[in-house]
Symmetry: C2
Subunit: 194 residues, 2 copies
């Protein structure tokens, strides 16, 4: 097999595999190096410590949602439509992650607990995308908001039940989609210019 | 000391004291009986099992907020004012419990986990009070809602960050009152008749 170039992306991919196999308590940098067929020194050249590697893989996991949602945030639809699509897209992404591979999800919950700074930055990015939608809605006379960032944070806070992993168990309930729709409708109406 | 009549209220009071002293893992019915100076048989005449006693004390703890909030719900102020006061009253009560006696709060979190049916009933009562406010707002032409119970549940869900004990750690943050105000403002606007 021709040796591939060892990139940060390949290391992070392997780290996720190792975490999935061994769990967050047991996975080591040596396991990651072994999975890649390289020395652990080669891994350390890219990620200076086990903690740095765990932080980077957490950042990668959380970041997967950003790209998907920023495409919605930057679309051409009216702000109210984009806001609903964005919130629905976030909820769908979280549900997919929680329901599709519950063990990996639990693993990342442990990692998120270790890397609260990374989680905070992720939330700021999400709120930034929401603020962009609110701002454009205000510009187009569709929404009213004195401070789009404060409003964006309120939207984030008010929809926690549909994106905060603490509620993951509730996401498979039959009435959850109706609950999501009711909250969304109330929030979008609250933003509408009279 | 003159013997007092052994009422359910006195037993529940003593149970809370015992839980506070011994913690939820160690507290027993015998401890409660000893604290009251009665036989454990006397306690069992009122509460048929340890589980029933723990459920009753959980119900009492959760119910303390009902009375306080129902006075707000049944007031004469316009629905928008009452809704804000009710949500602020709920948040204040939860913060007081979480911050005033964190160990007892943690104890009741354990009991709530054991008695999910009691917690569900408590939430239904809270949502019922909210639905009453929404209904009166609709009747007075102040609010718009197709289904006050669905709307009430949306209000409950959207304010979880300010009453769900999972968020108790965030309730002492300096920016939490601003966050609460922003969510409240958005929700009340969402309810307003155009």
């Amino acid at each position: 097999m021709a040796p591939e170039i060892l990139t940060p992306a390949r290391i992070l991919e392997a780290t996720e595999d190792v975490l999935r196999r061994f769990g967050p308590a047991k996975a080591t940098v040596v396991d990651v190096a072994r999975a890649l067929g390289v020395s652990h020194g080669s891994v350390y050249r890219h990620f200076g410590s086990k903690a740095a590697l765990r932080e980077a893989v957490t950042d990668r996991w959380l970041g997967q949602t950003h790209t998907e949602l920023s495409a919605i945030a930057e679309g051409d639809a009216p702000a109210g439509v984009r806001l609903r699509e964005w919130l629905a897209g976030l909820f769908a992404a979280k549900r997919r992650k929680a329901g599709g591979d519950p063990e990996l999800f639990a693993t990342y919950m442990v990692l998120a607990g270790e890397n609260s700074g990374t989680v905070e930055r992720h939330i700021e990015t999400m709120i930034g995308q929401l603020a962009g939608i609110v701002e454009e809605g205000v510009r187009d006379g569709e929404f009213v908001s004195d401070d789009p960032v404060v409003t964006a944070r309120a939207l984030w806070d008010a929809t926690g039940r549909f994106h905060d992993p603490a509620y993951a168990e509730e996401w498979s309930r039959p009435d959850i989609d109706g609950a999501f729709e009711a909250v969304c409708a109330l929030l979008v109406r609250g933003l509408r210019a009279p």
